[in-house]
Point group: C2
Chain length 361, copies 2
């Protein structure tokens, strides 16, 4: 069958469909379990989670499914940011805080790598079947440690060079993120602008240069995209935006609605929310903050500074100040359950395969 390959075999899943480990509360245990129960691989986005939250969520997922699932972690970044930069950013953010009646300024702690280490320990203790990474490559020892405990380890790349670096560090598979993808860019070598390569171009070039399985991401929302990615040489797909609008997703209502009502030309890659480039739907926050973009503190500092604004804006139903992460294919989004998203695309794939088979004879 079309879905039988090295990825489904190694991950012990039925369909080569991975739900992206989106951080920020989108990937509820219910969503992760629903995707895994439907034969794909659900992934908990633990990037912003505390060790305690990570453990509780993993335990919850295990209650909801006995199928394999993954946890996605961020490779830690510890940029040196001056007090002046933070003050400047706070000044620019003040008008939004005032509009939302946020009186307190967030405390910024110097980021460390200790959270990452604690998370890895939890992954190992909880025997999580799949661990994926973005924003860089995990140290070889971490990869080794996870592999020894029988976790499959998946990296993220946005260029051929980054995919090769993942392979060299021992990752089992690599998600290759095309420029269409919603949310944060995984770029970790060179500038993000240079690494804005469309999925159609990026997948075949990467497949030609690595031996580990390539998982295509970016602009894939349905059965057509899955088969297209496989024709390009990918052995699986990772879908993010498609699951943000699902019933089980923890995305805020205004976020879901914005995706469901957007067109392909309404997203933009912006660093204004987090200090790291990410694709989302253009709104007032982005428009007003873009002029300061170059001077904002880098990720994760800017992310900390805007957290209360984004949360409060969601509560007050003000999508114009929220980070509305979204890929370039929002016209194909649906407000249905994760199981229905997967059964719909399986139906579509069967249909295309049957039509193709006839045409190809």
């Amino acid at each position: 069958m079309w879905y039988e390959n090295r990825v489904t075999q190694d991950l012990s899943i039925k369909y080569p469909i991975i739900q992206a480990g989106m951080a920020g509360g989108v990937t509820t245990p219910e969503l992760v379990a629903a995707v895994s129960n439907a034969g794909g691989l659900g992934t908990l986005g633990a990037g912003y989670m505390s060790p305690e939250q990570t453990r509780v969520s993993i335990k919850k997922i295990k209650q909801l499914t006995n199928k394999p699932f993954g946890v996605n972690l961020f490779i830690p970044e510890t940029p040196d940011i001056s007090e002046e930069e933070i003050d400047k950013a706070n000044e620019w953010l003040q008008p939004f805080r005032e509009e939302l009646n946020i009186s307190e300024r967030p405390k910024v702690k110097k980021p460390t790598a200790s959270l990452f280490k604690e998370q890895i320990e939890i992954i190992i203790e909880e025997q999580v079947p799949v661990c994926s990474f973005t924003f860089g490559i995990p140290p070889k020892e971490t990869v080794q440690q996870l592999k020894e405990r029988n976790s499959i380890v998946i990296g993220t790349a946005t260029t051929v060079k980054e995919a090769i670096a993942n392979e060299e560090n021992g990752l089992d598979m690599v998600v290759v993120q095309g420029s269409e993808a919603g949310g944060h860019r995984g770029t970790f070598i060179g500038s993000f602008e240079e690494a804005m390569i469309g999925t159609m171009a990026l997948i075949p070039q990467t497949v030609d240069h690595v031996d580990i399985p390539v998982i295509a991401a970016g602009g894939i929302m349905d059965g057509r995209g899955i088969l297209a990615a496989m024709m390009l040489g990918a052995q699986a797909v990772q879908m993010g935006t498609a699951f943000v609008t699902s019933v089980e997703s923890g995305a805020k209502k205004p976020h879901k609605e914005a995706i469901l009502n957007s067109n392909e030309d309404q997203t933009v890659v912006t660093s204004t929310f987090s200090g790291k480039p990410a694709r989302g739907i253009r709104n007032e926050f982005i428009t007003k903050m873009t002029r300061h973009e170059k001077y904002l503190p880098k990720y994760p500092i800017q992310n900390t500074l805007t957290t209360s604004i984004r949360n409060e804006a969601a509560k007050q139903n003000r999508p114009e100040w929220m980070s509305l992460w979204c890929g370039q294919n929002p016209r194909l989004s649906k407000p249905v359950s994760a199981g229905e998203i997967i059964s719909d695309l399986l139906y579509q794939i069967d249909d295309i395969i049957n039509t193709s088979r006839k045409g190809w004879s």
Copy 2:
């Protein structure tokens, strides 16, 4: 067979593979004829040609093939540009002219739409089987006129909205240009930045909103890309960069070599050469001129101002000052004949189909 569909039927070609009508001397009559003789549709890029050159080239193509072929035209743009803008641009371009020993400054004529009208007359007189357009939509009367003479009329779109506009104006088919594509962006509604949509996302969204056949362009270089585009719902592909490096291509040697030696992350979209955004390989000209980009005269004025620089740079083998148009998939380029490019990809397609058929049973 995989290649039998409405596009191949309506265009009377064997394979749904169109060689893009790239302007600037790339599409020699030999290239156009070679592609058509191999079962695809060769296209003469007549955008910058005088009526006389257009006619001579068409006659030459007819001597070399009895198969259908196309001619691509630019929808004329007549921006109002002040003398000051031109003087400023000339000042910025002066260092390049000096390095290349170019003493004369080009004369800038106010652009008119008369060339376009003369070209259309030639297309009709010469009974060219296929006429394609970019940079806008031809007037309904022109479309009608061409259709009455049995020419198939193909438009270009970079968003769903533009594809719908093409259909509404009576175009028979539409090339949908993803952000991966090399050369000029075809965008004619809204800003080009908003219309930088990856092929993987743009094709299915467009297919869902028009009834005319969609021809996928952008990042497609081989059999994998062709089958992927067809899975997404396209009925044909248009390939540009793949043919630039062919033996029959009229691209300058340094241009061909630059593509053959580039990676996916080395191109950029720039207006510095022509006043209109186009994707090419980053070089010194772009790096030095980007700071002035916003203030350069619009297309086609800036194009006229840089013509002698680009030509002379090619003669002196200085690729750093040439426009090295190239898509995001240069790693798949080959320095072989157009016929070999096509036979290679047909072989690849057969191979993928055979493997898929087995896997799908």
